[in-house]
Amino acid sequence: MRRMVVGTPRRTELLRGVLDLCLLAVIDEGPAYGYEMTKRLRDRGLATVGEGSIYPLLGRLERDGLVETYRAASDGGPPRKYYRPSGAGRVALAVGVSEWRAARDAVDAVLAPVKVEVA
């Protein structure tokens, strides 16, 4: 039987299911390389996202044809691998966001009556 997760582990688990959407969303704003995506996510409060979980995810998105990549020189630095969503990636993002919102609303409806008391 699985134990109930509390705190950061739960946040990590919740994030794991939607991190691909978050990545597609931040590169939909403009092409980005790995660390740049991490910074964009951190700027929005997803500081717990380690780059370690981003790289394999980017690999999967690339394998599934949801992102396109190209190499270009970064600002004064070495050439970087930039990612941007493909056509299929944009469709996946739209569908995924719709699913996320439906799931979020349903969970909110269940959890809304819960009185939160933090000691």
Partner: protein
């Protein structure tokens, strides 16, 4: 940092990731880590728990890219051998039992057929002689189980072969041979 990337390189090499792809990933990782370090972030802050396990990180990245087969989780790795060992043992025992049965020829089944003719002439072929009915006895001794043993042996051998195939898939990938070797 460079030590982490170097360990990733070694893992990719061990897993058989093609050189150019491994070099591409190593370069991307190095440049990103350098930039993060320049901005004051440690490798642990960036990679989380992966910072302490470069082998898993490298394997996960390569498998998600589809460069190498998907690596099973630790739980799956632990579970598979137990089931596989049991399956192999059962298959091996079945092969042995089937082979023994074939060698010894057991169990044998003896068929004894007794046939009495009911024809009136045969019942009394020589009227007045007092000769009784003719009774024929046929005894057949054969190992009726033989076909079953052969089938059992065949099925068990196929199962054993299948187990061998699973074992070869469950073993960790071998390091690629050195170039030119």
């Amino acid at each position: 940092m460079s030590d982490f990337v170097e360990q990733c390189r070694q893992e990719w090499k061990r897993l058989g990731v093609p050189g150019p792809l491994a070099e591409e990933m190593a370069t991307d990782l190095t440049t990103d880590l350098r930039e993060a370090e320049a901005e004051g972030l440690s490798i642990e802050e960036l990679l989380g728990s992966s910072a302490f396990d470069p082998q898993s990180f490298a394997a996960s990245w390569a498998s998600e890219r589809g460069i190498i087969p998907v690596t099973p989780t630790n739980a799956e790795t632990r579970r598979r051998p137990v089931a596989l060992v049991a399956f192999t043992v059962v298959a091996a025992i079945t092969v042995l039992v089937a082979a023994l049965l074939l060698v010894t020829g057991e169990p044998k089944v003896s068929l004894v057929a007794t046939r009495a003719s009911t024809h009136p002439l045969l019942l009394h072929p020589f009227p007045g002689t007092g000769t009784g009915p003719v009774i024929r006895r046929t005894t057949v001794s054969a190992s009726a189980a033989a076909p079953i043993e052969w089938v059992l042996l065949f099925v068990a051998l196929v199962a054993l072969g299948f187990a061998a195939l699973l074992w070869s898939g469950s073993l960790p990938p071998r390091a690629p041979r050195p170039a030119g070797g």
